[in-house]
């Protein structure tokens, strides 16, 4: 295949180019870099970075541990709050979380490299397979977890620490959830997601049953009957559609499927990509799809977003990354119609938009962008069956601060609940907190009804 061949095709690049394009986005700090970076931390009191972290990792402490040549101690500090600290170090939008809160921003517009320091420490510990936590004495309680994504895994690990047994049901072939299927390839190289699952499972007491889908193979009711508690970490399985003419044409794909397919492809040259690609949406998924389309050799990649730059869910860092890879981001353009030729995509008609009285409206002016492939990245939605009468709100499972749902002994966390941002790190926090809530509930239930003085 020629680099600039038309249509959707693989093999646009030389093998070495694929390798380079999909290598680690930010290689790990070496020891010297880590020492220099860690030295910039002020060890703030009641540190804002820590407050900004959904898992409340003691960031000043772990950075100080790195700076004193104790990366394993740093890893213990991180993992004690966030057992998926390795992946979070890679995928967290730190620029809107811990690093945004860093006081160095006020002083010199450049935060401490918290994410990369976290990766430095966690990588060292994981490479040595240094386990910091042990399974608690067996309690005899077994908890069913649906979804082996960040929320489910974090929940299972914390339950194991308390001596409970966790059985995780997951519809996919591999565990990891979005860490395995939803993260841009260059953010989790070297099969990191699976390595992390293995590292986490080493605590023991966690069983994963793959290929088991809620609503198909079992229902929530089945699990509540068979297990002491249930945790739902089922994410957002649905993908929003455009509802536009031409959406059925060949070459119109969901960005999440593309990202997952690319992640699973052993040989990136096998992943077909259009010559001219349009990505619809303004979130991280849009950026991940667009950047990787470019890295696969697409000549022209355009993100079209129906609102302004300031409304994009993708962080500034991600937008800059896309721009640096040659992706064009265009704002105030809403898709009107997908144009086809011989059953395949030929282009997309878009209408300019504007905000009037707080409402997004089309201006009536339209234009066409030629494209042979279009990725839809306009959001994921809750999609599940077999949940029974579980209370929902705005398409998400209702939970309280302890991740309790409306049903007795049923907990939920991660993207599927109406709480927190849809981030890996938030999912980890939910899973961990749900495990603590489950553990506390067992303890309360285990106490005698009447205390004897």
């Amino acid at each position: 295949m020629h680099r600039l061949g038309s249509g959707i095709a693989g093999g646009r690049l030389a093998p070495a180019e694929y390798e380079q394009n999909f290598s680690d986005l930010h290689p790990r700090f070496d020891k010297h870099e880590a020492l220099v970076a860690s030295d910039r931390c002020y060890f703030c009191h009641d540190a804002p970075c820590m407050t900004a972290c959904p898992t409340e990792i003691d960031i000043p402490l772990f950075i100080r541990q790195i700076s004193t040549a104790n990366p394993l101690g740093a890893a213990r500090t991180i993992f004690s709050q966030n057992i998926l600290g390795g992946m979070c170090a890679r995928v967290c939008p730190t620029e809107t979380l811990c690093e945004q809160a860093c006081v160095r921003n006020t002083a010199e517009d450049r935060p401490v490299d918290i994410g990369r320091l976290q990766r430095y420490a966690t990588d060292i510990a994981m490479e040595q397979n240094r386990q910091f936590f042990h399974r608690g004495a067996a309690t005899g309680k077994t908890i069913a977890i649906i979804g082996a994504g960040p929320a489910g895994l974090a929940c299972a690990h914390r339950l194991a620490m308390h001596g409970h047994t966790a059985v995780i049901f997951d519809a996919r072939e591999k565990a990891g959830g979005l860490n395995e299927y939803g993260i841009a390839t260059y953010k989790a190289t070297d099969d990191f997601a699976q390595k992390e699952v293995d590292y986490l499972l080493a605590i023991g007491g966690i069983e994963i049953r793959n290929g088991q889908a809620l609503g198909r193979d079992f229902s929530l009711q089945d699990l509540t009957a068979d297990y002491d508690a249930v945790f739902l970490g089922i994410g957002l399985a649905g993908v929003n559609g455009l509802g536009l003419e031409g959406e059925e044409l060949s070459g119109v794909n969901d960005a999440v499927d593309f990202i997952a397919f690319l992640r699973q492809a052993d040989n990136k040259a096998d992943v077909p990509i259009g010559r001219r690609v349009v990505v619809l949406g303004g979130g991280m998924t849009a950026i991940d799809a667009a950047v990787q389309a470019k890295l696969l050799g697409a000549e022209e990649v355009t993100i079209c977003y129906r609102r302004g730059k300031e409304h994009m869910n993708a962080s500034e860092f991600e937008q800059d990354l896309a721009a640096s890879k040659g992706v064009t981001i265009r704002h105030w353009l809403a898709p009107k119609r997908i144009l086809g030729k011989d059953g395949a995509v030929a282009g997309i008609e878009l209408e300019y938009t504007a905000l009037r009285d707080g409402h997004l409206v089309g201006t009536g002016e339209t234009g066409v962008i030629a494209a042979d492939q279009i990725f839809k990245a306009i959001g994921q939605s809750f999609k599940a069956s077999g949940l029974g009468a579980l209370a929902m709100e705005k398409g998400r499972i209702v939970v309280d601060d302890h991740c309790r749902t409306s049903m007795e002994r049923v907990y939920a966390g991660g993207d599927c609940v109406n709480r927190g941002e849809d981030l890996t790190v938030s999912a980890v926090a939910h899973g961990r907190d749900a495990a603590e809530a489950i553990h506390s509930a067992f303890a309360v239930a285990g106490q005698p009804a009447v205390a004897v003085a």
Partner: protein
């Protein structure tokens, strides 16, 4: 352009920056390079008696401590005096002095405490055309075990005796280099003066173990599994050196005795601090050993630019200017009241001032006001201790503001007195001197 020319006990140099007697001044090659780089003078690495030279260890001679980004803060060494034959050193000194007549060349000397030894070496040094001699009574390792270096510097009577010999047997100016490894630096300085020294130089290095190898349980630097204390120098020792210089500068018995300031001079500012505390010039070693000879260019321009900015025309305008302001604690004005003030625009909200004050001082800085992260001094608790200023990572964010006489000190509930009053007259002092009737 400020005049940086230096005249130290009659020894002239184009600027007050000399290289101290140490590895950088070990031989002609180094000294030539130093002069090319702009150093005003050098004190040649210490000469010993004629005969077989000393030998150094063949393993590591230096150890260090580091600050941020591995910046060297303190260096320690176990190197001895020159391990080159005396005659070679003398020949090279003579040649270098001829090549660089405008630069100061001082010979550091350390021979046993025997009159004949000093009598023998002084004419040899004088013959080189050296501008002066510096008596090494400071080296705290190795040589001191042989009754030289700091072993002499720790006994004022020996100092006085040797200085007297030197003044007797040479026309060259005598600078007596003092060891800081002593309880009261004024005693050796007074002894040197009694012996007739032209000047003192200080400090030499401080006894130290910079670190311990925790795998081998041995001090660093480790030589074949063992370590020995070394001499500590570099930026870390500057505060100790400044104090000792000022002690001599303000001691009535040694007042006016020229001082060559040594100890952690790394920047022009360090040098200026030594000068205003009474040093006539400064000697530098560790900074050169860390960064090379070129750093003197920063020192020269920095000192000159600062002097220009402040209107000081020559070194005489600044030397000793801070000495009258160094006093004993008991004379500090207890009626002076200062409070910390945090510049909210400069504050980056790291909270270190709060936690330092809260955990370790006077609970006088807020962390939260009306539910918002906010750091502000509570004047009714602040004792003005300055800890917050020192832990704040932003320069000038926290400042100490003195209260005007007549204003209320919210902590004590008393008005600030306009008068000066110190401990010697304070009612709480059982030894208070009663004012004369």
């Amino acid at each position: 352009m400020a005049d940086l020319r230096n005249n130290f006990v009659g020894i002239k140099s184009p600027n007050p920056f000399w290289l101290a007697s140490a590895p950088p001044t070990d031989k002609a090659y180094n000294v030539e390079r130093a002069f090319k780089a702009g150093w005003g003078g050098v004190v040649w690495k210490t000469l010993g008696s004629e005969g077989p030279p000393v030998v150094n260890v063949n393993g590591p001679r230096y150890g260090a401590i580091w600050g941020a980004d591995r910046r060297l803060l303190g260096l320690n060494n176990i190197e001895l005096i020159t391990d080159r034959p005396l005659q070679i050193n003398l020949q090279e000194m003579k040649q270098v002095k001829m090549n660089w007549p405008d630069r100061a060349l001082i010979a550091s000397i350390m021979v046993p405490c025997v009159e004949e030894e000093w009598k023998a070496i002084l004419p040899l040094v004088e013959e080189t055309g050296a501008d002066g001699i510096e008596l090494n009574f400071g080296c705290p390792h190795g040589m001191s075990e042989r009754g030289m270096g700091s072993a002499v510097g720790q006994v004022p009577e020996y100092i006085e005796m040797v200085v007297r010999w030197c003044k007797q047997y040479t026309r060259m100016p005598v600078i007596t280099k003092l060891t800081p490894n002593i309880t009261d630096i004024r005693n050796p300085a007074r002894a040197a003066k009694r012996g007739g020294t032209d000047a003192v130089s200080l400090i030499n290095t401080i006894n130290s173990i910079v670190s311990v190898d925790l795998d081998n349980f041995a001090p660093v630097p480790t030589v074949g599994g063992k370590g020995s204390h070394g001499g500590y120098c570099g930026p870390a020792v500057k505060p100790i050196a400044l104090n000792m210089v000022s002690e001599i500068a303000r001691d009535p018995e040694t007042y006016g005795l020229p001082i060559s300031g040594i100890g952690g001079v790394t920047t022009w500012r360090d040098a200026a601090e030594f000068l205003v505390l009474g040093a006539g010039n400064v000697q530098v070693c560790t900074a050169a050993m860390t960064y090379g000879f070129k750093i003197v260019q920063e020192m020269i321009s920095g000192l000159s630019d600062w002097m220009d900015e402040k209107g000081h025309r020559s070194l005489d305008d600044i030397t000793g200017r801070a000495v009258p302001n160094v006093t004993d604690w008991k004379y500090l004005n207890l009626n002076y009241v200062a409070k910390a003030h945090i510049d909210q625009d400069a504050c980056i909200k790291c909270g270190r001032c709060h936690i330092a004050c809260e955990d370790t001082s006077h609970q006088a800085i807020t962390s939260m006001v009306n539910g918002v992260r906010h750091f502000e001094v509570m004047e009714d608790e602040c004792v003005g201790c300055n800890l917050c200023v020192n832990v704040c990572p932003v320069e000038n964010c926290i400042t100490m503001v003195g209260l005007e006489p007549g204003t209320l000190d919210q902590r004590t509930g008393k008005m600030v007195e306009p008068t000066y009053a110190n401990w010697t007259t304070h009612p709480n002092n059982p030894m208070a001197q009663v004012a004369a009737e």
